[in-house]
């Protein structure tokens, strides 16, 4: 069998914003044994009729082609786009990171946050909440640095992605 090498794919899916559509997508992944690394969803048009789901998954080429074909045949799905294949694209994720500590650790956390362009969105005398955006690797790196400095809690959105240039995914 060809295509045994696995790859990561970022797939954008435009769907009708109707009840159960997310369950259909997630059920498809669990029912057929596909991986989900991250999944985000929100309405994206002005009337709230369309939602965009961004899924980061991995598998062999054959599996990723299957995932796209299976997504595309769901009735409420308008468009499926494999951003990883379709050319340059941007991926961003937002993270809220709580770091608890005093003294030197606190100063060091603030200094590193500045280097990573993370903003302080909440502060007490014993804690910070940082907000940062970036790709997953950047956030992972930041979290790695915060761990010894009192990392207490993390909330991440998962990846959202969009193609560079003029081309647009629309109905």
């Amino acid at each position: 069998m060809s295509g045994m090498n696995t790859r990561t794919a970022t797939i954008a899916v435009l769907v009708e914003n109707e009840a159960g559509v997310l369950a259909r997508v997630i059920g498809l992944f669990s029912g057929r044994g596909y991986n989900i690394e991250s999944l985000t969803v929100a309405p994206v048009d002005e009337h709230g009729r369309l939602s965009r789901i961004t899924i980061v998954t991995n598998g062999t080429d054959m599996v990723i082609e299957q995932i796209k074909a299976q997504l595309d045949r769901l009735v409420p799905v308008h468009k499926v786009s494999d951003l990883t294949l379709e050319g340059p694209h941007l991926t961003r994720e937002l993270a809220l990171v709580k770091v608890v500590g005093k003294g030197e650790h606190r100063v060091e956390a603030l200094r590193l946050a500045d280097a990573f362009r993370a903003r302080v969105v909440d502060a007490t005398t014993e804690s910070f909440v940082f907000e940062m955006t970036g790709n997953a690797e950047k956030i992972d790196a930041f979290l790695g640095l915060m761990r010894p400095l009192g990392l207490a809690e993390v909330s991440r959105t998962g990846a959202v992605a969009i193609m560079r240039g003029r081309a647009a995914l629309a109905v």
């Binding site: 069998m1 009708e16 159960g20 009735v75």
Partner: protein, 604 residues
């Protein structure tokens, strides 16, 4: 009145109770028959049914049977089958039928009752999360929460059920939606594109040209046609025959595709797959170019995947893009409706000037004739009148005698050995005459499916070739047959075993017949009589033909209990995990089964 001319605030006169709106939408979709079973949540629909004559309701005895009956109705007519069941247990009982229809691509619209919207989520009496449960069991499903969506959803459901790769669709109807006044919306015009679901039916001309060039140069071609040809409609079967005759190639059908190509045609090499003919499977093994139209490289067809047709280039035409390159990597993918693909192939074949590899194909046919000479379906029937009936012989005689009547014959089956023998020994000349549970393998499918086919085809001879174990799974439908005077014939090959289970236990599990003996069987003759039907029994060869004749002559439903050899196995057989060229042919070669690996056992 169309949707666009509806006033913004319809007056009370234009609003009708939801149940009536649902029935009107069904009627506008051309529905003539509903298979159903009433209950609390759907009482408003039953009340509306009572007050009209356009739609006939067939009262089944179990909701699973309602779906199988609708499948038989759909498969034998090409129309969408319609089911009506109540909430909770009504819906959960229907699930097996829905998955069966999903696996075999049968268009079904199933209306399920639901508790009123304000009670949803409260664990109300007979509440079940029907859309949640049926999401992976259907092609699509809906929960109607606004009266104004009722008609629109019904129209949408029919479009989804029959378009692209057909399948079952559920509409969950809370009881308050059925009572509350609702507006009617006309079905969208056929030329209005669906907002999101628009399957491709026209094949890509470049792919068609490439396929034709590949086929013309082929020295050992095979055409492998499946249920997609039947779903496309009778014209697709006609085009398939035309293409096979034009090209001079051998043709094999899948279990679901039987009837897509005439069984009596000299270019037909029989069914392929686990219990397919030797010649069909050897063609698949040895071919250099394979054209798959409307089949999906199911594991029962391919056997061991890494040894499947190792030296061929493959062309795969399917209306479902997700079926292409799912199991088997193909060289030329063609997305499209089977009928359109065949029409395009015919035209391209006539226009393309690539020379056909004729001499090589003559040699290919010589090879095929050598495989045929093995007579893989031969069996030994002791001719003495007192002899035990071989199940293969019972099916063969059933076929010969029914064919001689000249009647329109529709055959359904349950699941197991008898199903395979029916597929092997009954020849189908036309599509829509063979109803069987292929993908899901649902025991209990055959009797209700024959019932649905009989409703749709009142003059046809509808026969359920059954096993004594399978038929008991939906035997209650004998009551439905009696109520509607449906002359369905149940032809039971009674070997007192779950035969296919017993066969696998014999071949793969050291003859340890764990729980496969049908102990304490009912007396099927008296059981038939208890259900107001005729019961017949043949215990030896001398009685067989007489029982078949008597069964066919009786104007009402019949159970024919054919007592057959208990230890007969179904051959040829490709054991699990084996390749096509490792086929077991008959009793003398059974020792080969020892070669089945543990990996093979895992493959079921």
């Amino acid at each position: 009145m169309s949707a666009t001319t509806l006033p913004a605030n319809p007056t009370d006169a234009e609003l009708r109770p939801g149940a009536e709106v649902v029935l009107r939408a069904l009627k506008d979709q051309g529905v003539e028959v509903i298979f159903g079973y009433p209950g609390g949540a759907v009482l408003p629909i039953y009340d509306a049914l009572f007050q009209q004559n356009a739609i006939r309701h067939i009262l089944v005895r179990h909701e699973q049977a309602a779906v199988h009956a609708a499948e038989g109705y759909a498969r034998s007519t090409g129309k969408v089958g319609v089911v009506l069941v109540t909430s909770g247990p009504g819906a959960t009982n229907a699930v097996t039928g829905l998955v069966d229809a999903l696996m075999d691509s049968i268009p079904i619209v199933c209306l399920t009752g639901q508790v009123p919207t304000h009670l949803i989520g409260n664990d109300a009496f007979q509440e079940a999360d029907t859309t949640g449960i049926t999401r992976p069991a259907t092609k699509h499903n809906y929960l109607v929460k606004r009266s104004e969506d009722l008609a629109k959803v019904v129209h949408d459901a029919f479009y989804v059920a029959r378009s692209g790769r057909p399948g079952p669709v559920v509409i969950d109807l809370p009881k308050d939606m059925l009572i509350k006044p609702a507006p009617y919306t006309e079905a969208p015009k056929p030329e209005t594109p669906h907002r999101s679901y628009r399957p491709v039916t026209e094949p890509d001309p470049a792919a068609i040209r490439e396929a034709v060039r590949m086929l013309k140069r082929s020295e050992r071609p095979i055409i492998y046609a499946g249920g997609g040809v039947i779903n496309s409609g009778p014209e697709a079967s006609r085009l398939l025959a035309e293409f096979v005759h034009l090209t001079g190639m051998p043709c094999t059908n899948t279990l679901m595709g039987l009837g897509a190509f005439p069984a009596s045609d000299p270019q037909f090499v029989g069914m392929l797959g686990m219990h397919g003919t030797y010649e069909a499977n050897m063609c698949m093994w040895q071919c250099d170019v394979m054209l798959n139209v409307g089949a999906r490289f199911d594991d029962r067809i391919t056997g061991r995947l890494d040894a499947f047709s190792p030296n061929s280039r493959k062309i795969h035409a399917d209306i479902d893009p997700s079926s292409i390159n799912k199991n088997v990597k193909v060289d030329v993918p063609i997305v499209g409706d089977a009928g359109r693909v065949l029409a395009a192939l015919l035209e391209a074949w006539r226009q393309d000037d690539t020379p056909v590899a004729k001499d090589a194909q003559v040699a290919w046919w010589r090879q095929i004739d050598q495989w045929r000479a093995i007579h893989c379906l031969a069996y030994k029937q002791d001719p003495a009148p007192s002899a035990i009936i071989k199940p293969q012989h019972a099916v063969k005689r059933l076929f010969e005698i029914t064919r001689a009547t000249g009647r329109d014959v529709i055959v359904s089956t349950e699941v197991g050995q008898h199903q395979m023998w029916a597929a092997q020994y009954i020849g189908f000349e036309k599509p829509n005459k063979w109803l069987t549970s292929g993908g899901l393998g649902t025991m209990g499918y055959g009797l209700p499916a024959a019932m649905g086919a009989q409703i749709a085809n009142p003059d046809a001879l509808c026969i359920d070739v059954a096993g004594e174990a399978s038929i008991l799974m939906n035997i209650q439908e004998m009551g439905t047959l009696a109520q509607y005077r449906l002359p369905v014939k149940a032809f039971i090959l009674n070997n007192e075993y779950m035969g296919m289970v017993r066969q696998w236990q014999e071949l793969l599990h050291g003859g340890r017949y764990s729980e496969s003996y049908s102990d304490a069987l009912p007396d099927f003759v008296r059981l038939a009589e208890a259900f107001h039907a005729k019961g017949l029994r043949a215990t030896n060869l001398g009685e067989l033909d007489g029982v078949i004749h008597e069964m066919l002559a009786h104007p009402g439903p019949v159970i024919a209990d054919i007592c057959v050899a208990k230890d007969e196995n179904c051959f040829p057989m490709i054991p699990s995990g084996a390749a096509h060229n490792e086929m077991i042919l008959g009793p003398d070669q059974e020792k080969n089964a020892a070669a089945v690996t543990d990996e093979g056992k895992v493959l079921v």
